[in-house]
Amino acid sequence: MPTTNLDAVNAALEHWPAAFALASILVRDRSLAEDICQEAFLKLALMKRRITDPHRIKPLLMRIVHNLAVSESRRPASVSLEQEAERSGLRPDPQAPDPARAAASREEISRVQGILANLDPLWRLVLYLRDGVGLSYAEIAGVAGRSEDVVRVTLHRARLRVHAALKAS
């Protein structure tokens, strides 16, 4: 196996939670999200192009996860309405360690999850990559395949939409 990027990929395993959350936000299925993440890391490891700049690996990983999730979500879903929320990666797993849960109330998270679920997928993606992963506008543009201007405008509108929805609820 020509694993030219093995060391870089092993170092990138610290981004596993971020990659998983992105996949689960896009496909809304935990087990599928896990499969996508594993495939993304494998693709990264098997890339012929050597990754020398460690700062590039995070946006690259996000782009691979995004592409895999988009391909996967083109297949018809087979999730019942009740299971959808349960299986969604957005729902906190009660077994998982969760340092952030103390800071955010369950109600607030549940409300935000509901709002995010109704957003356009691009808006969800941009919000997550900025406010969840912390990518720059240029990096988000690379992942989403849009211009930086589109990212800037989309992010702004998406935040305003989320704020308005939170206020209304």
């Binding site: 395993l13 879903a77 019942s80 309405l81 360690p97 995010l116 969840g132």
Partner: protein
């Protein structure tokens, strides 16, 4: 001078540190004198923090990362490993070839009609279904392109999600337009015995009536379900196929299972009119392809197509997503699909 609206468009970029120093300075100066923009600025910061916390929870719920990928073999062992690798590749190729040949020429014992009957009848034993119906008309799309009009039908396939519980419940709602990938807040209709309800998001109300009087829209048209529940449950039953295939003079069942279907252990049958005895070409014809999972004895997919001179006029594909043993009553309740306080009119009690 820029308007507040223009300033506000840059507020997210300012919060994220993505605004150039000159523009950022200008915007900060404006924020000092404009209370409205200051409020929006605060709103964006609050929203960003809230989203950050939500996403942190999503990340914290991730399963454990896999262990590190194995490192390369030491240099001294590489030559041997390379030889072993080629032997392994040759072995796998031989195994695949044997497997493929075995499967390609595997003799299926059961006759097509028997398999179809067993699999179709199995649906009547199941109490709950969840499947998708994809409806499309290539013909309307072609017409739309020729006459440069954009009827709703030219927008592409429409996918309906159908949740059903035997003997008398089902709910249909439009999931999305498959071409534009947009989820529509379209009509939702539910049937229970003789009673039916429809939620129309444009009117913002739920209407109850007799199921025989209920219509719902897709592909820009209206469809009336005269005997809704009974038709739906029989759609995947043997009766449905037999009604097409029993007319032996004109219909035939043939197995069209290909190597790919065999690989995933499925059998595929085609129901279609027999060729005319005089050999004349048929200009309009229909076919139904049925995919059976013999292990589960279940019809998993049914594709029906009416074709005019090579162009599909109307196609329906029904895919069983799940034989779902866990649909709650809430799924069949109109309140699940409507905002709180939605008015209900014309309620008719079930008989």
């Amino acid at each position: 001078m820029r308007s507040c609206e223009h300033y506000q468009e840059d507020l997210s970029a300012l919060v994220d540190g993505e605004l150039g120093s000159e523009a950022a300075g200008d915007l900060r100066h404006h924020l000092e004198v404009c209370a409205d923009c200051r409020q929006v600025h605060e709103d964006i910061q609050t929203t960003r923090d809230t989203l950050g916390r939500t996403f942190a929870v999503a990340m914290a719920s991730a399963p454990a990362a896999p262990p590190a990928l194995s490192t390369r073999a030491p240099a001294a062992r590489r030559g041997r490993l390379l030889r072993l690798r080629w032997i392994a590749v040759a072995g796998v190729a031989a195994a695949v070839l044997v497997f493929a040949l075995f499967n390609l020429f595997e003799v299926e014992e059961a006759a097509a009609a028997d398999v179809l009957k067993m699999a179709a009848d199995r649906h009547l034993d199941l109490e709950e279904y969840e499947f998708f119906a994809t409806i499309d008309s290539e013909f309307f799309q072609v017409l739309g392109n020729i006459f440069d009009v954009k009827p709703k039908t030219s927008a592409g396939s429409t996918c309906l999600r159908i949740l059903a519980r035997a003997p008398d419940w089902f709910v249909i709602h439009e999931v999305e337009n498959l071409n534009t990938r947009k989820v529509k807040a379209g009509e939702v209709v539910g049937f229970q015995g003789e009673t039916a309800w429809k939620y129309d998001p444009e009117k913002g109300e739920v209407t109850f009536c007799k199921s025989g009087d209920m219509t719902f829209g897709f592909l820009g048209g209206k469809t009336r379900i005269k005997k809704g529940h009974s038709n739906l449950f029989k759609l995947l039953s043997w009766d449905f196929y037999r009604s097409m295939a029993d007319d032996q003079e004109h219909q035939q069942i043939t197995e069209i299972t290909g190597p790919f279907d065999r690989r995933i252990r499925r059998r595929v049958f085609r129901l279609q009119p027999k060729p005319k005895a005089d050999g004349k070409k048929q200009w309009i014809w229909s076919k139904t392809d049925v995919t059976i999972n013999p292990a589960e004895n279940l019809v998993e997919r049914m594709e029906f197509d009416i074709n005019l001179t090579g162009i599909s006029i109307f196609g329906v594909k029904i895919e069983l997503a799940e034989a779902n043993p866990g649909l709650s009553d809430a799924v069949f309740d109109h309140r699940t699909y409507t905002p709180p306080g939605t008015p209900v009119v014309g309620e008719v009690k079930g008989e």
